[in-house]
């Protein structure tokens, strides 16, 4: 018997109004007024007037992505849970019902708050130092078995202990296969060859579980779409260099969401296209996405998601959220000429996913955290870094001093250290975060 996926449906129902929204800020604000505080503040993050079209396109995906998984399942698709750092296009090509483990909880949290669910994993005996990115998902599972997977994929164990361990816990809870792709410590040819073999084995296992072979024509079709998305992504990365900053801060947040839950699908491509067009026309006019810009910031971890309004607020105080580590996808266009090039291309892409890429090996190694952040800081002409300080992230906290010293000493870029749970507003509430950012930014001058 399938239980009602209440949280996802609740989210979808609550946010249902976005489906019919015109591309108009006041309509969005009007809709927000009628919603409970969490959902309202979520919508308010999307109110940059230049980007209202992009915002609404993104919101619609936000609202329907999870429930569409249920539809896919009802058509017989096997449910595959995957850690966010995975190219979901593969699962689409296999007609599976792909669920990003992190997004499965994050989306309801953003709309509904869900503190009860965030606390539930601790009640299930898990340590409270696990990541907010998983707490709500696990909570839903424990409390109401929202949806159960047929298989769980983790493409980068070793880049984050709590993450890998949580996926192991979930596989054990439901007694379903856990496919770990071992991401090696290095970032060289040998590693990529090793990882490609890992990836192939995973594809074979997925085919077994799914009861059918991967349809390569379908994969080709999907990857060609996905390639289009990558091209747009790079075009936008280039536009980001413009001053004043031509994108809305919400762009980066949605990039992650698109990648996690909708990558390669027409709506996502549409999202990137609108973003590109809007940014391009602003750059041509020499305008910024918001006025009085005073700092271009690189978020060396991720943004803070429990209150999306924060991103709009940053615009109001003139702070550009130019880039974060979790939105950094150094993806290459995949050669779709043969089965092998596609599978290898996907494997290579997976090893370059955020977090896996930066944290599987040494902090200062090739494609390590330091190299990537220094590159982005230089490339995007960054004034200051903000570390959102997700308390669960032992990896980054464990080399934060090294990282901030390097940015400070080698590039003269200061870093603000926040201590938060990026998904639990109770840990460090928004006003405290705002105060710290405000002070930090005012000291930059």
């Amino acid at each position: 018997m399938v239980r009602t996926p209440t949280l996802w449906e609740e989210t979808s129902a609550l946010m249902g109004g976005v489906a019919a929204l015109p591309e108009d800020v006041s309509a969005l604000e009007e809709l927000a007024k009628g919603l409970p505080p969490d959902a309202a503040s979520l919508l308010k993050g999307f109110t940059n007037p230049h980007y209202i079209k992009m915002s609404i396109t993104g919101l619609k995906i936000f609202n329907t992505a999870l429930t569409s998984v249920l539809e896919r399942r009802s058509q017989g698709g096997k449910v595959a849970f995957y850690c966010f750092s995975f190219p979901r296009e593969l699962l689409d090509a296999m007609d599976m019902a792909p669920v990003c483990t992190e997004a499965a909880g994050i989306i309801p949290v953003l709309a509904l708050g869900c503190e009860e669910y965030i606390d539930a994993p601790i009640n299930a005996g898990l340590p409270d130092s696990i990541c907010g990115g998983h707490k709500a998902t696990v909570g839903m599972i424990v409390e109401q078995a929202e949806i159960t997977p047929d298989v769980i994929i983790n493409a980068g164990p070793g880049s984050c202990d709590p993450n890998a361990k949580l996926h192991e816990w979930m596989a054990e809870t439901w007694d379903v296969p856990l496919l770990n792709l071992d991401a090696p410590y290095y970032h060289d040819d040998r590693s990529f060859r090793y990882y490609r073999r890992e990836f192939r084995r995973m594809v074979e296992r997925l085919e077994e579980i799914n009861g059918q072979k991967l349809d390569y024509d379908r994969l080709k079709e999907i990857l060609e779409d996905s390639n289009e998305q990558i091209r747009l992504y790079w075009e936008i990365q280039d536009l980001k260099k413009a001053k004043p900053y031509p994108l809305s801060n919400i762009y980066c947040v949605l990039v992650e969401l698109m990648k996690y839950i909708w990558s390669g699908r027409p709506e996502a491509i549409e999202y990137f296209r609108i973003a590109r067009d809007t940014a391009k026309s602003l750059v041509e006019k020499g305008e910024g996405a918001f006025p009085n810009q005073r700092a271009r910031t690189l978020w060396t971890y991720s943004g803070i998601y429990f209150d999306m309004e924060l991103f709009r607020w940053l615009e109001e105080i003139g702070v550009a959220f130019v880039q974060d580590c979790f939105g950094w996808y150094p993806d290459k266009v995949i050669d779709t000429s043969s089965i092998d090039t596609m599978i290898d291309g996907l494997a290579d892409r997976t090893l370059n996913q955020p977090m896996t890429r930066q944290h599987k090996g040494a902090w200062d190694g090739p494609a390590g955290w330091a190299e990537d952040m220094m590159f982005l800081a230089r490339e995007l002409d960054i004034d200051a870094c903000i570390y959102s300080g997700n308390l669960a992230c032992k990896q980054t906290w464990g080399c934060l001093r090294l990282m901030t010293d390097k940015l400070k000493n080698e590039m003269g870029i200061p870093t603000l250290r926040l201590e938060t749970d990026i998904l639990d507003k109770r840990v460090t509430p928004t006003p405290v975060i705002k105060e710290q950012i405000e002070e930090f930014v005012s000291n930059l001058a």
Partner: protein
């Protein structure tokens, strides 16, 4: 036969004396800096009350933080077992005991004979303990026991977001300065407290009947919040809930005197 239980916690110390299975005297005091002082003071009072002396005690069990340092005790048992045992003896249908003490919060599951089945105890910090309430009550210049009744009048509890007691203190302080009604602040405190307790309760789960012990059980506001959050109706106890640990110790004294039990 005279049995005694002595519970020395971080905020208060309790002594309870039983004669042939009946409670004949009980006392509660605020702790002194050293547990042996607290124990001597509170047991002295209880014995005087019962018209007895130390030599009359056949067996005494100590419990609580200072349990290992009570010179006149014959044995010691953890406060976790004592609260479970004591509460279940008082109300035989009790299976879950929520004990909120001075700096610990424990959720204790017992079987039909009061034997410990499972438990959890807070470990991170003092959030969700009696000390939290004490800190807050002090700021409001009311007794801990008054936090309950005053809160019941509130219609708009203030929200307390900080988990750290010290920061929560500042939040409360400012609510006071802002002229928020004491009832609203007290209600906010009770709610914050209950939320922290609930988080712990969920870890072992609730089997009914449930009761609350420890000083916080006397705070009607917290009890009411917990009732709503957990959707259970805690059973009232026929004695002061702060005495349950000492009572449990007395019951273990009986076991130990007869060579059985913990």
């Amino acid at each position: 036969m005279i049995l005694a239980g002595c519970d020395v916690g971080s905020l208060s110390a309790e002594a309870l004396v039983m004669k042939n299975g009946t409670i004949i005297a009980a006392e509660i005091i605020k702790v002194r800096p050293r547990p042996e002082q607290s124990a001597a003071d509170v047991m002295g009072l209880a014995l005087a009350n019962a018209g007895l002396g130390y030599s009359d005690i056949d067996y005494c069990v100590a419990t609580g933080y200072g349990r290992e340092n009570i010179p006149f005790a014959n044995g010691n048992v953890s406060e976790i077992s004592c609260h479970g045992r004591g509460a279940q003896w008082l109300v035989p249908s009790i299976r879950t005991v929520i004990d909120v003490g001075g700096q610990d919060c424990k959720v204790i599951r017992v079987d039909e004979e009061g034997r410990l089945q499972n438990f959890v105890m807070n470990d991170k910090c003092a959030a969700g303990t009696g000390r939290f309430l004490e800190f807050m009550a002090k700021l409001l210049r009311v007794g801990i026991e008054d936090l309950g009744p005053s809160a019941l009048e509130s219609e708009a509890p203030v929200s307390i977001t900080n988990v750290c007691s010290v920061y929560a203190e500042t939040e409360v302080l400012y609510s006071v300065y802002e002229g928020r009604a004491t009832a609203d602040i007290a209600a906010g405190i009770n709610r914050a407290m209950a939320e922290r307790v609930r988080a712990l309760v969920k870890r072992v789960g609730v089997e009914e009947d449930v009761c609350l012990t420890g000083g916080v059980a006397k705070n009607a506001g917290v009890v009411k919040e917990l009732e709503e959050m957990l959707r259970v109706e805690p059973r009232g106890l026929p004695i002061d809930p702060q005495l349950v640990g000492a009572l449990g110790a007395c019951l273990f004294a009986n076991d130990q005197l007869h060579g059985s039990g913990a």
